[in-house]
């Protein structure tokens, strides 16, 4: 990695915790016959560090509760980080709010998961797609309208659809509208939070193709959050695996699918049904995905890990570079052991 060009996005030690009980009256509970004040925290992100280079597609994978959506939303600015730093290019943006944040909101845009709630049902498509333009300065109504029609055509929709309302469209079409909205202000980094999960299989292919086309045409950088490993394998250049708010493994796509290192990555990949092998594979491990409210001590995966060792229960593993471009956080690989 060239040191001269800073990565487009850099995150260091990002922590995000949410209180479960907000406010005094929520905290009062009756437990064991006495009134107590209970204060629980959702440990959504517990120290995540990663970089995204310009032009690449980094996929963030993991199951529910791993924190991938929280990471995406924190980077976009929807949640202020509890601690940790975020850089965009050479500038630090982690703590920025309001007007100071504005120039970056133009450059970092987001595509949402649910096509049914990501578009305001009471607004016309023209207003929905044009909203970022309104906020970021393109003030003339005709200029906005022209651009909206341009964008709609780019994403494969009829320009006349600008006059319609979201409920008149299917899930796939709405997702296209969401993509048009994200592209409205010519962003550099697009964060796609499970953009195809809610769509039918044949439409997923269409949207994935659209995303790839847009990336090529506009030189976009993607942070692709998903739990769909086949889509991830197809579209991404690098993969980062998360578990309970921590990055457990990061590697180039081909490398990680060829040889997953972390036990959780192996478990995850083995659980995905694939059409290449048609015999039934019994589930590899038992156990539940734990909640981020009560984090296990040491390595968060140790209660389910088939290769668990002593240090795993007490010490959180540091992230080590197992090979150029490959990072793993697992005691199995510490001190050069393999």
């Amino acid at each position: 990695m060239s040191a001269a060009v800073p990565p487009l996005l850099r995150v260091e030690g990002l922590v995000k915790h949410f209180p479960v009980q907000k406010g005094f009256f929520d905290k009062l509970t009756l437990r064991d016959g006495r009134v107590r004040l209970v204060s629980q925290t959702v440990h959504a992100l517990n120290g995540v560090s990663l970089t995204i280079a310009r032009g690449e597609t980094l996929a963030l994978v993991g199951e529910s509760g791993c924190g991938k959506s929280t990471l995406a939303k924190t980077v976009v600015g929807l949640h202020p980080p509890t601690s940790g730093r975020i850089w965009y290019g050479a500038e630090e943006i982690g703590g920025l709010t309001g007007a100071a944040r504005r120039p970056y909101q133009k450059r970092i845009q987001m595509i949402f998961q649910d096509p049914f709630s990501s578009l305001n049902p009471r607004k016309k498509i023209a207003d929905i797609v044009g909203l970022p333009m309104l906020v970021h300065g393109r003030s003339s109504r005709t200029a906005r309208r022209t651009r909206v029609e341009e964008l709609l055509t780019k994403v494969g929709l009829d320009a006349a659809y600008a006059e319609r309302y979201p409920h008149q469209f299917s899930g796939g079409q709405r997702q296209r509208i969401g993509i048009a909205r994200a592209l409205a202000c010519e962003p550099e980094l697009v964060i796609a939070d499970e953009p195809i999960s809610a769509l039918d299989v044949s439409i997923q292919a269409q949207i994935l193709n659209l995303l790839m086309d847009m990336q090529e045409e506009f030189g976009l950088t993607y942070l692709f959050v998903s739990h769909d490993l086949s889509a991830v394998r197809h579209i991404s250049s690098r993969v980062a695996v998360m578990y309970l708010g921590l990055l457990v493994e990061t590697a180039d796509t081909e490398a990680i699918f060829a040889e997953p290192l972390h036990p959780y990555t192996r478990l995850l990949f083995s659980a995905i049904p694939s059409l290449d092998r048609l015999e039934f594979r019994e589930a590899a491990a038992d156990g539940e995905v734990p909640t981020p409210i009560e984090l296990p001590t040491g390595c968060p995966f140790h209660p389910r890990c088939p290769d668990v060792m002593e240090p795993c229960r007490t010490d959180r593993p540091a992230t080590i570079t197992a090979a150029p471009g490959r990072h793993v956080a697992c005691h199995l690989y510490a001190s050069g052991r393999r």
Binding site: V201, S202, N209, D213, H227, R233, S274, L275, L278, F280
Partner: protein
């Protein structure tokens, strides 16, 4: 004789919804058969009619929907000829059903033990103590740790995967001959999905229960089903043994579907996509419903293609493929 007879035979099933805007032929002439212990995958995208097919078998169709034609033979008896009281006795006892959303299929205000007991008592009178004992055994069988204590817990105290296990145990409580599972793992995480599927498959094997697995996930059915049926816009477009469907699909829709799944072609290249979308089911025009999106469409496709046997046990409703 009776062991040769398929446990379930659906013949010419038609379920239509008569709405203010027109007639929705949600299930339009669907036929298939299932032998004891067999697992069939009913695949299709949203709106294809697969869930409605499942509900039709259980006769859980409410107005404005109505089953307008067909026969559904459960071990030789036509379910469509039965009274509601007879169907109530069959549901839960001879046919079990597992729904998609474990959040809403269990009643949030009653404990798990109560709900299992209720399900058991619905079909055979059972004392409270016996009910609890059986419930503990059932929870154990589906892999829920410390079942005696968990019996008094409420659904919201379980995770999604655990809830689904409870639902499965209730569905299998009466040792049904047939289990209908409507997207049972869609709402679950991938690793939990694998566990739940393993459980369902093993339970069915143990008890010789046939299962209809309704899903949109082709890879899933490829893994655990003996035969696959593909639905599109209310029509059954292809049906056959798993290997045949996955390796040599004959209907253009099935072919397109399999081709568009990422992983079957070079990375980072454009996926082969099926253009367009599933048509609006209201007043669907005559002929093959896939015609507008099919790259092999011909004049003959204007009239509805019959489901023809193009290879042993492999059926496809396509004029073009049928001629090959």
């Amino acid at each position: 004789m009776s062991s040769d007879r398929p446990i379930l035979q659906v013949e010419g099933l038609r379920t239509h919804f008569f709405t203010r805007k027109g007639v929705v032929k949600a299930v339009d002439d669907v036929s298939f058969a299932l032998r004891r212990g067999e697992i069939m995958g009913l695949v299709g995208e949203s709106g294809a009619g697969k869930s409605i097919t499942g509900f039709s078998i259980l006769r859980l169709i409410d107005p404005p929907g109505r089953i307008v034609a067909g026969r559904i033979l459960l071990d030789g008896e036509d379910l469509l000829a039965k009274s509601e009281a007879e169907m109530a006795a069959i549901r839960g006892e001879r046919i079990g059903m597992v729904f998609q959303d474990p959040q809403t299929s269990l009643d949030p205000v009653f404990s798990i033990g109560y709900q299992i007991g209720e399900a058991l008592a619905a079909h055979h009178p059972i004392s409270r103590a016996d009910g609890r004992g059986r419930a503990v055994g059932m929870l154990q069988r589906v892999g829920i740790p410390s079942p005696e204590e968990r019996l008094d817990s409420y659904p919201h105290q379980f995770s999604g995967g655990m809830r689904q296990r409870v639902v499965i145990s209730i569905a299998m409580a009466g040792n049904p001959a047939l289990l209908i599972a409507d997207e049972p793992t869609t709402a679950l995480d991938v690793t939990i999905q694998a566990q739940v599927l393993t459980l369902m498959r093993n339970l069915c094997r143990e008890r010789g229960t046939a299962m209809i697995l309704i899903t949109h996930d082709m890879a899933l059915v490829g893994q655990c089903c003996n035969q696959i049926a593909v639905m599109y816009a209310g029509h059954l477009v292809e049906r056959g043994p798993t290997e045949a469907i996955v390796r040599t699909p004959r209907h253009p829709y099935t072919q397109g579907l399999l081709r568009s799944i990422p992983g079957r072609q070079a990375r980072r290249k454009r996926l082969a996509q099926i253009p367009g979308m599933m048509p609006n089911l209201i007043d669907l025009p005559e002929g093959c419903p896939f015609r507008p999106r099919c790259d092999q469409a011909q004049a003959a496709c204007g009239s509805r293609p019959p489901l023809a046997e193009i290879a042993p046990s492999h059926f496809a409703a396509c004029v073009v493929e049928g001629r090959r």
